[in-house]
């Protein structure tokens, strides 16, 4: 019996990898351009292929990090993110459990409603609410914390979807029924069964809410609050290259942070990719 060498058809594979390569370029080229602009100590007009390796330096970043206002606005953003996460989980975790386990018929309605903050132009919301409150209850808008409800609402479509996908991935309805038939009360079910089973989804939704808040500009700008993104925009006006260095750094930090969390969860067998994120 002869076992002839296998001739694989390579044409399809080449086409596929080419496509993927082009897509990757679409992502990488702008990032590289930005990195060169920010970190190369070369006049902008000379940034071409011949100068790719010249004059890389972090001095602009160090300058930017020395600004005390940066840290004030960063602190505001972090507090806002934490509060938005807490508010969202407190509201949406019970809602998702309720819909998934007890009232599956409400699912299409709730899914549609939680999508609204992205479907209705968010700008209309800010404009409207800001204008109303400025007239009716100006004290409400005085604190930067007034951004929290907006952020919670804005992140809701994602948070809800991540939680909902998590519940379905762990087969929450059956888990809850199993726990109830074993004599567990509702708090026991939530704390000892659902929360640990869904930790990946909870972390993922919290992480995404945080990332969204840390990058949000429109609300903060319109309501005249100093957050990290508004600071970045202002700072960049005066120092384009240092601002860019700062922006890139924030970007890399957020991405690395998210990747780290995902990796930790994977190692504990809690795949985040299964929760629809």
């Amino acid at each position: 019996m002869s076992a002839p060498a296998v001739r694989r058809s390579r044409g399809g594979a080449v086409a596929r990898w080419t496509f993927l390569g082009l897509l990757a370029l679409f992502f990488v080229v702008p990032q590289l351009a930005m990195a060169r602009f920010a970190f190369q100590n070369v006049p902008v007009v000379m940034l071409d292929s011949s100068t790719v390796l010249q004059g890389w330096s972090a001095h602009r970043l160090i300058e930017a990090l020395a600004e005390p206002e940066l840290w004030v606005s960063a602190r505001t953003s972090v507090v806002l993110a934490a509060l938005a996460i807490a508010l969202n989980l407190a509201l949406l975790m019970p809602l998702a459990v309720l819909v998934e386990v007890y009232r599956p018929r409400l699912r299409p309605l709730v899914t549609a409603v939680t999508l609204l903050p992205w479907v209705v132009p968010p700008i209309a919301l800010v404009v409207g609410v800001a204008a109303t409150f400025r007239q009716v209850a100006p004290w409400f808008l005085a604190s930067p914390l007034s951004l929290v409800p907006f952020y919670a609402l804005w992140a809701m479509p994602f948070t809800y979807r991540a939680l909902d996908a998590g519940l379905r991935a762990v087969n929450a309805r059956t888990l809850v029924e199993a726990a109830r038939s074993l004599g567990a009360s509702l708090p026991t079910v939530l704390v000892r069964v659902l929360a640990p089973a869904m930790s990946a989804a909870i972390v993922a939704s919290a992480g995404l809410t945080g990332a969204l808040v840390l990058g949000e500009f429109a609300f903060a700008s319109l309501l005249l609050k100093n957050t990290l993104p508004t600071y970045l925009v202002n700072y960049q006006r005066g120092a384009p290259q240092a601002g860019m260095a700062l922006a890139l750094t924030v970007m890399v930090f957020t991405a690395v942070g998210m990747a780290g969390v995902v990796h930790l969860l994977r190692r504990r067998g809690l795949g985040v990719s299964t929760v629809g994120v």
């Binding site: 888990l175 029924e177 726990a179 038939s181 004599g183 089973a197």
Partner: protein, 359 residues
Amino acid sequence: MTRTSTNQRTDGQHNDMATIEMIGVRKEFGATVALADLHLSIGSGELVCLLGPSGCGKTTALRLLAGFETPDAGAILVDGDDITTVPPRRRGFGMVFQEYSLFPNLTARQNIEFGLKVRRAGKAETAATVERLLTMTRLEKHASKFPHQMSGGQKQRVALARAIATQPRLLLLDEPLSALDAQVREHLREEIRRLQQQVGVTTVFVTHDQHEAMAVADRVAVMRDGVLEQIDPPRTLYSRPASAFVAGFVGTVNRVGARPEPDGWRVLGAHVPAVGEAVTGTAVVRPEQLAVQRANGTPGVFATVTGVSFLGALTRLTLDHPDEGPLVADLIGPEADGWEVGDRAIARVRADAGSVVLQ
């Protein structure tokens, strides 16, 4: 068509176990009547299978027993106490689900302990119970594994151990074997039966697989469109089905013409005793009640062999009969050897076949 049977096992072996009654239970979901008017009574220590095609109401009946649904009318009694509105966690029933329902963040041992810990059982008692159950379900080696490290069959064995750990008054099994491979399925159904008898717990087992139901149940309740068609021990159900639906559902049947004769009926050229009422002049003949002989020049009406299936102990012939249409016969031993598609054969009801069922 509903027949309720109130015969309960009276062997006195499981007096500490519960008797269950469902009285006139009705449940609708929107416009769909899932259960019409269910009367069902289950003796203490008995294993009853609810059997039927999808949508027949068997799972609804189980979920009503578990307390996950509330009936629109009727009552559910355990040992005479009305538990119709008691929430699931206070019913003290164990349940095994079709989907794997182990808590993913707990090991096999921790899963089994869960119900005991929730009920604040003593530490020593908990440990002893869990060890006993691990041994009974042959899971000793897997006690520290997490669900994602176990096979489907192992997971369902843990789920079973978890369900009986709290010494439930009633054990509810919702198609516990449907997600498993055929080989594992057959093995585990024997194990469930053995465990159930060992523990003596009253059990309701929902399935769509007639073989599974017949193999494990003390009595099988055949359901259809929210109505209980018949509840009887497997043997009775098989030999004296109450309706054509039941006859067809609990096994393969041949429907052939029957003519009255003195002291019996003429079916496929043989004189046979019969049970049932001959409403349609049709007899229901099981495949194993047919004898098939080669038509070696014999005169008579011949059937043609259209298929030969090897079923292990049995060989199944499908035949095309000029008068009766397609027939199925199960043959055993030497009778079964050497048949080929296209052979001509004489099919008769066996002399020792016992009664056939008339419709």
